[in-house]
């Protein structure tokens, strides 16, 4: 049933997916790195919340900010330690490195904390609903939408109004030329990874908010989402990633109610079939971009 509740959930899902996709593309656009360790940033956010809850009592919002900070730091560190040394190697080498980092992080969580799920503190507001037009809408969904729009807005300001942002977009267009204009490569890449970590961290807050728990493998599903949304959006364009995320979220929700039960289980397979089809027939994604120059 297409109710208000459904619409809000679909948009909320889309907002989350949009941030996810953006975090992935911002790194891919510059480095051509398909970051398999991206999903683990969500896992790290969740575990940070868990660990913080073990300590002295803090207001949730503080814990949230700290947890996202840990995600940002992790993202930055993985770049410095693992990706920077292999940056000059082939694209495949970087991808395998990211796969190794992903395995490393997952098993580190397994080892240091536990293979079993761990409870994550959530603000009371996450379990409350509000009545809109006679229907009960989870506040969490509304918060997801608002937070995403806020973050996207901030990013737009960064990318459009600051020199650093312009440099980031330029690096995404043509990394070599950006360096030749004197922009320090390492700075740009570090900032990109930090932003990627920020986006994953915020998404992580909402992701663990759904189940109030975190497991070592919680990053697997968001990673796949990021892939699909990114491909839909065309892999190179930041705007495309955002739109791709929304499309994926909404389509996914729609498929959830439209498909017969028997086929519903194969929903994920369908999404990846779409990925293959897009990459085969329309690799620039479903969004028409402004770039007419030669693409590498």
């Amino acid at each position: 049933m297409i109710t208000l509740d459904f619409i809000i959930n679909a948009i909320s899902l889309g907002s989350t997916y949009a941030l996810l996709a953006l975090g992935m593309v911002i790194v891919y656009g510059i480095l051509k790195l398909v970051n398999f360790a991206y999903g683990e940033l969500i896992m790290i956010t969740g575990y940070s919340l868990f660990v913080l809850a073990l300590g002295p009592h803090l207001p949730w919002i503080i814990m949230a900010v700290l947890a996202v900070g840990v995600a940002v730091l992790t993202s930055y560190l993985t770049e410095r330690v693992a990706f920077r040394p292999v940056r000059s190697n082939s694209f495949t080498a970087m991808l395998i490195t990211s796969f190794a980092v992903s395995t490393l992080l997952q098993n580190a969580a397994l080892l240091i904390i536990s293979p079993r799920a761990r409870g994550v503190p959530l603000p009371d507001v996450f379990s409350e609903s509000v009545a809109i037009w006679g229907q009960s809408v989870p506040i969490r969904s509304l918060l997801a939408i608002v937070t995403s729009l806020l973050l996207l807005g901030l990013l737009v300001v960064l990318l459009r109004r600051t020199v650093l942002g312009i440099a980031l977009r330029a690096a995404s267009d043509n990394f070599r030329m950006t360096r030749m204009l004197g922009v320090p490569a390492n700075l740009v890449i570090s900032v990109a990874f930090a932003i990627s970590g920020l986006l994953a961290g915020v998404v992580g807050l909402f992701w663990v908010g759904r189940t109030a728990s975190v497991t070592p493998t919680i990053g697997a599903a968001p990673l796949l989402v990021a892939f699909v949304a990114t491909v839909i959006g065309g892999m190179r364009s930041l705007l495309g990633a955002v739109v791709g995320g929304y499309i994926y979220g909404i389509v996914f929700s729609l498929i959830g109610v439209l498909l017969p039960q028997g086929l519903l289980e194969f929903r994920e397979a369908f999404m990846f079939l779409i990925v293959i089809l897009i990459l085969l027939f329309r690799p620039e994604g479903l969004i028409r971009g402004v770039n007419s120059s030669r693409r590498v």
């Binding site: 796969f99 190794a100 580190a108 697997a220 892939f227």
Partner: protein, 355 residues
């Protein structure tokens, strides 16, 4: 005194022999030692070698990372057991199985072949269009294939018992079987690498435009490698299924893929030597680390046990290799019979004949 006659065929293919003989020796020694645990480890080692060779056949020659190897292993595993299990076992483990499948029972070796063929068939049907893509698009589509295979395996419960473990498979795989097939596939991988298809693939990987301009159909070459890789993986999947006798679809997903990748990259993806060396090294490492893990767990030093330690070390090792020695242990070359040893010549040159 008499000079040994040069054997050009031997020297051209010395790599295969230099790899096969030690593998046979390992097998022989294992039988002589008679320790059951070591026998299990070595049996799995040979299966892993086949899987890593399957990965190498595609990735080493085309340069494109294939995440689908684990998926084809799964297809092969399930296909082969569907034909090798007794009807009674199938009725018990897979109650919803289609009746014609429940009735059939075929010999072990035939079922292995079926496993390989089904995997190859799936690859043959879906993969051709994907071979047009390179770099990121190529890897992502092949990765998508893995996800799709996994979803299908998990949800086609009638065939696979869904996400749950499938029981009732007979233990048909023993050390002898895996040794023989390992050597066979080693030869196949070597043959493919040195064949014209293999050469053309590697040429196209270095320079796609140049290769296309001399008429090499890159897509077809990749396709052939991909289908061969799928067959090998499927066959190995069947071997493994009849060794482990119970498994679930998640055995054929990312964790498995990580291990195969680690083995190949650490050994060196550019040749079959790397595949073999990497598999042996990583297996030794894993078993060593596992026994450390077990000892720590038994002595209860750490409250929740040492879990994931093995994987962490392997991941660090993999990253280190990529940073420090990206071409792996083998460094991009193959092992060869040393020139002049026992009068046999290495790859280059025929010896001067006595006048």
């Amino acid at each position: 005194m008499m000079h040994m006659k040069p054997l050009p065929w031997f020297s051209r293919n010395s790599t295969f022999f230099v790899l096969a003989v030690p593998l046979l020796l390992i097998s022989l020694v294992t039988v002589l030692i008679g320790d059951l645990l070591i026998e299990r480890i070595v049996t799995v080692l040979f299966i892993d070698v086949i899987l890593v060779l399957a990965l190498q056949v595609f990735m080493g020659n085309s340069g494109i990372l294939s995440f689908a190897v684990a998926g084809f292993m799964g297809i092969g595993a399930y296909s082969s057991v569907l034909f090798s299990m007794t009807p009674a076992a199938k009725a018990a483990a897979l109650p919803d199985l289609y009746s014609f499948l429940t009735q059939i029972q075929l010999p072990f070796l035939v079922s292995l072949l079926i496993g390989g063929l089904v995997a190859a068939l799936v690859a043959a049907i879906v993969a051709y269009p994907l071979m047009r893509l390179s770099d990121a698009a190529g890897v992502i589509t092949i990765f998508s294939l893995l996800v799709i295979i996994n979803v299908v395996l998990v949800h086609w419960s009638a065939l696979t018992n869904g996400p749950r473990t499938l029981f009732g498979v007979d233990r048909f795989t023993y050390l002898g079987t895996t040794t023989v097939f390992c050597i066979i596939f080693l030869a196949v991988a070597w043959w493919f690498k040195e064949s014209s298809t293999g050469l053309k693939l590697r040429a196209s990987r270095d320079d796609a435009f140049a290769a296309a301009s001399i008429g090499i159909n890159i897509v077809m070459m990749r396709y052939l490698a991909f289908v061969l890789s799928a067959f090998m993986a499927g066959f190995a999947g069947g071997l493994w299924a009849h060794f482990i006798t119970s498994f679930s679809p998640y055995a054929f997903y990312l964790s498995a893929m990580f291990v195969f990748l680690a083995m190949l990259v650490i050994g060196g993806p550019n040749g079959i030597s790397g595949a073999v060396v990497g598999t042996v090294m990583v297996t030794l490492l894993r078993e060593g680390l596992r026994s450390i893990e077990n000892n720590v767990n038994m002595s209860k030093i750490l409250p929740s046990g040492l879990v994931g330690f093995t994987e962490i070390v392997m991941a660090i090792l993999l990253i280190a290799i990529l940073i420090l020695r990206p071409a792996g242990i083998m460094g991009g070359t193959e092992v060869r019979w040393p020139r002049g040893l026992f009068g046999l010549r290495g790859k280059r040159g025929t010896p001067a004949k006595d006048v």
